[in-house]
Amino acid sequence: MDPAATASLSGELPLPSVQGAAASYCVDLSVDASVLPAVPPSVAEAEAARTGHEEEENAAIRLVHLLVTCANDIQAGDYAAATGNLAEARLALGTTVSTATGIGRVTSHFAAALGQRLSRASPSDSGAAPVAASSAEHTGELYRQFYEAGPFLKFAHFTANQAILEAFEGCDRVHVLDCAIMQGAQWPALIQSLSLRPGGPPALRITGIGPPPAADGSRDELNEVGVRLTEFARAVNVPFSFCGVRGDTIDPIQAWMFKLVPGEALAVNSICQLHRLLVDDVDPNSVAAFFPEPIHTVLCWITSMQPRVFTIFEQEADHNNPALVERFTNALFYYGALFDSMEAMSTHRRTNTTGGLGGEAYLQREIFDIVCGEGSGRVERHEPLNVWHGRLWRAGLAQTPLGPSAIRRAAGLLRSLCGAGYRVQERGDFLTLAWHDRPLFTASVWHAPPTNNVINRLFELLMGEPEAQPTEGEPEAQATEI
């Protein structure tokens, strides 16, 4: 068959044809040019993809700009303009920017938060439904989802446990105080490490602060956690006892409630709790100025108990600015990075994400609190590490240097938990968990220096506080690649 005819009929390029017995190959080049595409397919597709990608990026940038302008309007008191901007943003979220992934997912939460804030300001606006008030059980469930969705809490528990283990070396009776025990997931690993300690396990006592039992009396989480930890400790032969202290917040708590025993080594553990104690700056001329701030009260009784180790884990962000726009912008980029990292992790695990990201609801609560909460209504008052450093130092605590293997072990943990992207940064004696150079959380270890160092302490106070080790962006932060 004539190759040219074949080509024009089927639109394909002619194949080499065998002609006659000589089996000579010939390619007929007289093909109708119109059947060939003008540009090779792969190049055209790449071009289309790139334009589409650019359009998406532009849409996302426009959306972020709209939301920030809306926040600006709210701060200025111009609710009408704010409502307009928000409506436009919502429209974009419904159409040009996908809410299932990436920037769309996190901005949809911020848009909803702005909506709630506006609906409270001007009741005529039918904004988003408010975040449902929740029971302690619901909070616990969300916390558990967040625990599984990312390496953050596991990193916190692991680094804190390592520090506690090191501080307890050589001690026979040890006491751990957990400022918010939740489901107690941090402690099995510590109990197991203590049971395998050379020289045998010490007598361990854990005191956990937790919410009071549910009003309907159905479940007592704190009690259940105590029972499980006791059972676990019995299985691995560690002498153990558990004590629960009930309270919704930690500031009304007093040191005598922990029944401290002299001769016991004490560890205090706080995972994302200290920032809840911060309050807005008080007017120095008001009556409120006479009362100590909750954070000072708490740090005071912690220091008075002379803990051998005080492990702290906090978000590495500045979300405590009284100005809404500052908070909003900082939070948008912070949670954007956080969601990004969690998405990468769920893709890495190839789990089903149709129901939304695990841990999304937990973070949504934080976002709503940061955007909508004012005054005593806001608890998520994240502050960067240099601020915490100053505050803790002034309270009389001293930082414990990290061991040389701390960063290596932390990097090993991240490697086994998740794929590339997470980094561990060591800045001075702080250990920061970062997503692609964007710091997310910081762990640090402190202790109360002995009280007979009063003269040294006065001297330090007179000379001014030491500088927090390298601030953001300094090249001295050593990042370890995973």
Partner: protein
């Protein structure tokens, strides 16, 4: 797994009896079968990698029984942990604790095995350093959390989540049950 030739004698306590056995075996005269001695079989299976060992459980009843011995999985686990785990890693105390938490077989299935797979996937360079990076203490920590969550399942709480396999380790592997 290669099945050529008779197995080597396990221990050389005295030369004479060993020589005798060897002569007997090499002489090819006799029905010495790998299945004759469960302990010898155990020694051999203990040298396999994880996947092969799991597959060995499907060969016959004897192999299934032997490959379920925790000691076999213990050897496999200890072979893969880094030198940083120290002499304590092989001790009696560790064995007791691991047994209390669920056994070495479960430890491998849930923690070490998937971690090794992940390191293997990460590429040749990572694999070369795999031994240093796999830490027994880290695996034990993760294993403890698994055991703790299972305790929660046995206890109170009617939440649906409790009856599922411990979810905090689902990220390590898909829950394919080989038990």
């Amino acid at each position: 797994m290669c099945m050529g030739g008779p197995p080597a004698p396990p221990r050389q306590e005295e030369n004479e009896p060993v020589l005798e056995v060897r002569v007997q075996l090499l002489g090819g005269g006799g029905a010495h079968n790998i299945n004759d001695n469960a302990d010898i079989l155990s020694e051999i299976l203990a040298r396999l990698d994880g996947r092969s060992l799991a597959a060995a459980a499907g060969v016959c009843r004897l192999w299934a029984a032997v490959s379920r011995r925790d000691a076999v999985w213990e050897e496999l686990c200890l072979r893969h942990v880094g030198p940083a785990s120290g002499p304590a890693a092989a001790g009696h105390a560790t064995r007791t604790v691991v047994a209390a938490l669920g056994g070495y077989r479960r430890l491998y299935r849930l923690c070490l095995g998937p971690a090794l797979d992940r390191l293997g996937r990460a590429g040749a360079l990572a694999h070369a350093q795999a031994r240093e990076r796999l830490s027994l203490s880290l695996s034990l920590s993760l294993f403890s959390i698994d055991c703790y969550e299972r305790l929660g399942g046995a206890g109170g709480g009617g939440a649906a989540g409790r009856q599922q396999p411990p979810s905090s380790l689902l990220f390590l592997c898909k829950p394919v049950d080989v038990s």
